[in-house]
């Protein structure tokens, strides 16, 4: 009896196998639905990432020249020119911030250039170094003591350099007058801060030349893989937007108490423009600028055109809602809370789509830990 059952089951197993193979011969000329992931990554590297870093390098050089001019002749005209150069530079940074992988991680670009305080912080009291704070105390101490190391990997150091320091030193209250005392040290610190940015960006540009091969040839989706990093990077960008960029200063974590001084680029006053550009760029990454070789197209090849369209539409909606927020954002968050609330809602929807549907559909993992199901 047992044997008969076993035999029939074995036959069933075999026929199932044959059946499956047959149907494959019938319909499958093989890879008609296949997707060229290396092609996608090559497109990202050559059309988006590497050109964006090259442009960032240009903006840094331009900014450095303007900074030197200002530091030599400190007047409002030069300050105004410098502010324009800075805005261009920071906007260009938002076009690379999602590539938080490989050379950028090695260099620590995000924390040294545009530290957001980490997204694991509680944003409930003022005065603390959280979000896009500026640590003027450490900056002033560094200037007066002359004793500082901008390569230190600690929060105080992050908050005393990069865009935070540039905002304070060049565009903060009485920025020009402050250079009149302790001039040599202050000018040196300002130059060191600018030079630090140049060093980081130069290094990333050089490193990408070597890293490119590794990037385009790794088509896995596990943690640390380029595809995994790109998708997780998109989710992270949305997390930053929902948290330190808009939600937290708006008072989401703090019972509605707003912290206007903690918006990004507070003294330059273009935080809304930065948030908008960041999302425009994220959409550009998702659609690969309409080249047919992006995540949106990968989704289509997986029969998930619905999701691709849903995501594109949500990106557009978020961008529209953000464009309704005028700069300076620090004023808007208290003057037009309803509009901020609207944008926030759509940001959360987009974040949800990326974290759940997109991550699921692309098989991207978020942790290294063993996993035997979901």
């Amino acid at each position: 009896m047992k044997r008969t059952i076993l035999r029939s089951l074995a036959v069933l197993a075999l026929t199932t196998g044959v059946f499956c193979n047959k149907s494959a011969d019938g319909e499958g000329d093989g890879n008609d639905k296949g997707f060229d992931k290396t092609g996608m990554l090559t497109n990202y590297a050559d059309q988006l990432i590497i050109p964006a870093y090259a442009l960032l390098q240009e903006k840094v050089n331009n900014f450095q020249a303007l900074a030197n001019t200002f530091l030599e002749t400190r007047n409002t005209a030069n300050q105004q020119g410098l502010l324009e150069g800075y805005k261009q530079l920071h906007l260009q940074y938002t076009r690379v911030e999602a590539y938080n992988l490989g050379p950028a991680v090695v260099a620590g670009l995000e924390v040294y250039l545009n530290y957001n305080g980490g997204i694991d912080y509680n944003f409930a009291t003022n005065g603390e170094l959280v979000g896009f704070s500026i640590d003027s105390t450490t900056i002033e101490n560094n200037i007066s003591s002359g004793n500082y190391d901008l390569t230190q990997y600690v929060r105080n150091s992050f908050y005393a350099q990069g865009f935070a320091a540039i905002n304070y030193l060049f565009f903060g209250p009485n920025a020009i007058q402050k250079f009149n005392s302790n001039t040599v040290s202050r000018v040196k610190y300002a130059k060191d801060v600018v030079n630090r940015i140049k060093t980081l960006v130069d290094k990333i540009n050089i490193d990408w030349t070597a890293y490119r091969t590794e990037f385009v040839s790794n088509t896995k989706t596990n943690v640390g893989s380029p595809i995994g990093n790109m998708i997780n990077g998109m989710a992270y960008d949305l997390d930053v937007l929902k948290g330190p960029r808009i939600g937290w200063p708006f008072g989401k974590q703090s019972n509605g108490i707003a912290f206007p001084a903690k918006v990004e680029a507070f003294f330059a006053g273009n935080a809304a423009a930065l948030a908008q550009e960041s999302m425009r760029n994220l959409k550009k990454i998702f659609t690969a600028n309409g080249s047919g070789k992006g995540f949106a197209d990968y989704l289509k090849s997986l029969n998930r055109e619905d999701l691709a369209n849903q995501l594109t539409a949500q990106f557009d909606l978020v961008i529209t809602k953000l464009e309704a927020l005028p700069d300076p954002l620090s004023t808007t968050i208290t003057a037009q809370p309803a509009k901020v609330e609207e944008a926030y809602k759509e940001i959360q929807k987009l974040l949800t789509l990326i974290k759940t549907d997109l991550a699921s559909a692309t098989g991207v993992q978020i942790t290294f830990m063993d996993n035997d199901g979901d």
Binding site: E27, D120, T221
Partner: protein, 447 residues
């Protein structure tokens, strides 16, 4: 049917399968512990997190701090080696079981079916005379040597493996798995980087092949292994299936190897005698003909009988809950549901005070690791546990009688993300229960 009569299960059989199993299990556990340690997971999982998802009723199981956790893992590694060597076997197996299970009970989000399997096997091993040959214990006390044991000792391990496979197979008999080939259809295109087979990963028939072969394998493999004539074929399938699993889904960890090694227990006594002879050069002596006899037989039979009944009931308890198991996951754990669905969630919590005047949004990253957040976002009992934690945390921060509301979106097997729980329910006031949680929204097939 297998005739279960007393004579058959007390029949003296060769101890050899038990010996091989003991040595292999001990060594594998040693390697597994080192791997966990070496990857830095002791720190990331049990030392750095500020909050842990304890099991209901086991809230007292807490991490022991950095030195404590490393001590615990040292004990696990050491006792695993002692089990392999058969040195102070009873003490070692009890200690191993307690320490390993303690670690697993610290945080639900680290639950893996194979950790549960290890805990169960470690529990069984405590009662079995697996140290009566090829061990340091009998080298020290040669009088304790036995070459025969009651058949049920080996049968129990085979039963445990059978439970794992058979229920894993039953779990795959659902429309998502068989008719839609989900989640394979979602997972396989992410494996296109594999050499040779990678090119086929976009073809749907491959997903169907994997799904159907997997289901048939899990359902039938035990019968192939039990039957002498099909055993070698069966073991061939064991190798193919588990090696394929570890190549396609490396994230599954050591589970395939645990099963490959454990399945050897289905081979006959004489096979294992030859294997042990081949490995050690020492023969099982025939003159040791007095079979091992248990002292408290009746009590032991009662324990083991209860154990067997529980093992058959636990994977079926999901039948007592309404709605879709994959959605509400009530009765999902401890049921050998391995790699069965693709589920992801995003959870946003809001805190209000009693008057509804104060209003805070929770930043999950402040309290949870990425792994914890991922696991919590899709599992109702973890959501409840976290909500209670949030209530007490925000109470300490000065919110009077905090109310906790969750806006949670979940996607299951490629269906668009949708609301998972009732966002208007104050989770802080909802109790833990064996009953169905009414605040889980019913799964709707259409988007």
């Amino acid at each position: 049917m297998m005739a279960i009569n007393r004579q058959a299960w007390e029949k003296p059989v060769s101890i050899a399968p038990l010996i091989t199993f003991r040595i292999a299990f001990g060594l594998l556990m040693f390697v597994s512990t080192l791997r966990f340690w070496w990857r830095g997971w002791v720190d990331t999982v049990y030392v750095s997190p500020t909050f842990h998802f304890t099991y209901w009723g086991f809230e007292w199981v807490q991490p022991l701090g950095k030195p404590g956790m490393y001590l615990l893992f040292s004990i696990i590694a050491l006792t695993a080696l002692m089990i392999a060597a058969g040195f102070l076997y009873r003490v070692a197996s009890v200690l191993f079981f307690i320490c390993f299970t303690y670690v697993e009970l610290i945080d639900v989000t680290t639950y893996l079916n194979h950790y549960y399997f290890i805990s169960l096997v470690a529990f069984i091993m405590i009662w079995l005379p697996a140290n009566r040959l090829y061990s340091l214990d009998v080298l020290i006390k040669p009088g304790r040597r036995r070459s025969l044991v009651p058949a049920w000792t080996i049968g129990l391990i085979r039963f445990q493996l059978g439970v794992v496979y058979f229920f894993a197979g039953l779990a795959k008999l659902n429309p998502d798995w068989l008719i839609d080939a989900q989640p394979m259809k979602t997972w396989l295109p992410a494996k296109s980087h594999l050499p040779i087979v990678g090119a086929f990963m976009y073809n749907e028939w491959v997903a169907y092949l994997f799904s159907w072969f997997g289901a048939l394998y899990d359902l039938l493999i035990v019968f192939f292994l039990l039957n002498k004539r099909t055993r070698w074929w069966g073991y061939g399938f064991v190798l193919i299936f588990h090696l394929a699993t570890s190549i396609f889904f490396p994230g599954i960890g050591l589970f395939p190897y645990v099963m490959i090694v454990s399945s050897l227990v289905f081979f006959s006594g004489s096979f294992h005698q030859r294997l042990l002879f081949f490995l050690t050069g020492k023969k099982v002596e025939a003159e040791l003909s007095t079979p091992y006899a248990f002292t408290y037989k009746k009590a032991l039979y009662a324990i083991m009988g209860g154990y067997v009944i529980l093992q058959c009931f636990i994977p079926c308890r999901f039948l007592l809950y309404p709605d879709r198991l994959f959605w509400n996951e009530e009765g999902y754990r401890f049921s050998w549901r391995v790699m069965l669905m693709e589920k992801a969630g995003a959870a946003y919590f809001k805190i209000k005070d009693r008057a509804g005047k104060q209003f805070y949004e929770v930043n999950n990253a402040e309290f949870l690791t990425p792994l914890q957040e991922k696991m919590m976002s899709t599992q109702p009992d973890l959501i409840l546990r976290y909500a209670h934690f949030l209530a007490s945390t925000y109470a300490k921060r000065g919110v009077t009688q905090p109310r906790v509301y969750g806006e949670i979106y979940v996607t299951l097997n490629g269906a668009g993300s949708r609301l998972f729980i009732d966002s208007s329910v104050n989770l802080a006031a909802e109790p833990f229960s064996w009953k169905h949680y009414h605040w889980i929204l019913p799964y709707k097939a259409a988007n």
